[in-house]
């Protein structure tokens, strides 16, 4: 079985604009084993 997650998350308006704007990034890589409750990605101010 497989689960596919599709979601919106914050991204900066453009690469040159306001570096303090929140940006989502994944904290996993392909092939990683992950368990329920572990972070897939984070967004930071």
């Amino acid at each position: 079985s497989t689960v596919v997650l599709v979601f919106q998350a914050p991204v900066p308006k453009s690469p040159n604009e306001n570096p303090s704007s929140p940006e989502f990034s994944f904290c996993v890589k392909s092939g990683d084993r992950i368990r329920v409750g572990e972070a897939l990605g984070r967004w930071h101010e």
């Binding site: 596919v4 997650l5 991204v11 308006k13 084993r33």
Partner: protein, 370 residues
């Protein structure tokens, strides 16, 4: 075959019987044990071959070699098999109640074969009446701590990350494997309120959304609010939102319950009753549109970041999906009970526009055997 030949050499009387010779070997005490041993050896050999192939693939992945899409005759043959009936039969077999003395042996064997962690089981092994019950077992309290960071999205399942990334363009696609992709709209359904964003162009995005708003004017307000957040929700103008995806594969030994990745409101459920192809690594390389063709349940809603959807996709051995928020939903039905339509069966959760609220880490669904 070599095992059978060895057995035939060892017990010539049995061999002569199988060749239509005399019947003086009737009641040969070695006949049944011989067949059993041959079957066990064959299953062992198949399992060993599978483990070897998995190891080769893992090594290739570690070296950065990505396997390409390559359809073959075996994949074409799979389409001819009554996979739904096989899946349902497998479900029936695995739901047979086992004698109490046998349960620990069966479950420990399963755990050894598929690398399951028995120490996490919420109940003693003797209390799982069938393999099916054991398969969807819950875990001990605290086995899966939820990341407390409010600015993180957590994994909804135990599994292996296959793919992830950002979706771009007006028709976003997800790679099944290198060389073959499927559209997100096909996965979630044509009526999905998936926000389609034109790549890197804010003005274009606004006009797309305005157009979408006009086209969807007959739909309910919450659909519009998700399709065009800038019109309905001024707070969402800043920051911008990207559209992301993550594909997670659950192996047979994994914990098979699905949890909520964030705090969110589930607004709608869609059930697609498709095929039940296997979902293993080989199948992803050889069967086109695997995730789009297989039976699946899609939950859609919204969270503080915007749109959110989870698609739970069934396979031959793990064919049915049970929703905790809608226990009456039945999946993996016999073919005769299926609606003869390509349209998914939809349910909008009440109250409309709010739906069902789920907290991060709440259990949402479970995959069942067969």
């Amino acid at each position: 075959a070599s095992s059978v030949r060895r057995l035939q050499a060892k017990f010539p009387a049995r061999a002569s019987t199988s060749n239509g010779g005399n019947t003086d070997s009737q009641g040969n005490p070695f006949l049944v044990p011989g067949a059993t041993v041959a079957t066990i050896l064959m299953l062992g050999a198949l399992h060993a071959r599978r483990m070897y192939n998995d190891k080769k693939i893992e090594e290739a992945r570690e070296r950065g070699i990505e396997l390409e899409f390559q359809p073959d005759a075996k994949a074409a043959f799979l389409r001819l098999l009554p996979l739904r009936s096989i899946s349902r039969l497998w479900g029936t077999l695995t739901s047979v109640e086992l004698p109490v003395w046998l349960r620990p042996h069966v479950y420990k064997g399963w755990a050894r074969a598929f690398h399951a962690n028995l120490e996490e089981s919420a109940l003693p092994l003797e209390q799982y009446a069938s393999l099916q019950e054991f398969f969807v077992r819950t875990l001990k309290e605290g086995s899966r701590p939820i990341d407390p960071d409010p600015q993180c999205l957590v994994s909804p399942v135990d599994g292996t990350i296959l793919r992830f990334g950002e979706l771009k363009g007006v028709r976003p696609m997800i790679d099944q494997v290198k060389g073959f992709s499927y559209s997100v709209s096909s996965l979630l359904g044509a009526s999905s309120f998936l926000p389609l964003i034109a790549e890197g162009n804010v003005h274009e995005e606004s006009s797309e959304e305005e157009k979408a708003t006009t086209e969807k004017s007959k739909k309910t307000w919450w659909r519009i609010s998700l399709a065009s957040p800038k019109v309905q929700d001024p707070v969402s103008v800043s920051p911008m939102r990207g559209l992301f995806y993550c594909v997670i594969y659950l192996r047979l030994g994994d914990y098979h319950r699905v949890h909520s990745p964030v705090d969110w409101n589930v607004l709608i459920r869609r059930h697609f009753s498709g095929h039940l192809f296997p979902l293993n690594e080989r199948a992803t390389r050889t069967i086109r549109n695997l995730y789009v063709e297989n039976e699946r349940v899609v939950l859609e809603g919204r969270w503080q970041g915007g749109f959110m959807a989870i698609a739970a996709i069934g396979a031959t051995n793990v064919g049915s999906i049970k929703l905790l928020i809608e226990p009456e939903l039945r999946t993996n039905l016999p073919i005769r009970k299926l609606m003869h339509s390509e349209q998914p069966e939809e349910r909008v959760y009440e109250p409309e526009g709010i739906g069902m609220m789920l907290k991060k880490g709440n259990e949402v669904a479970a995959f069942n055997m067969g």
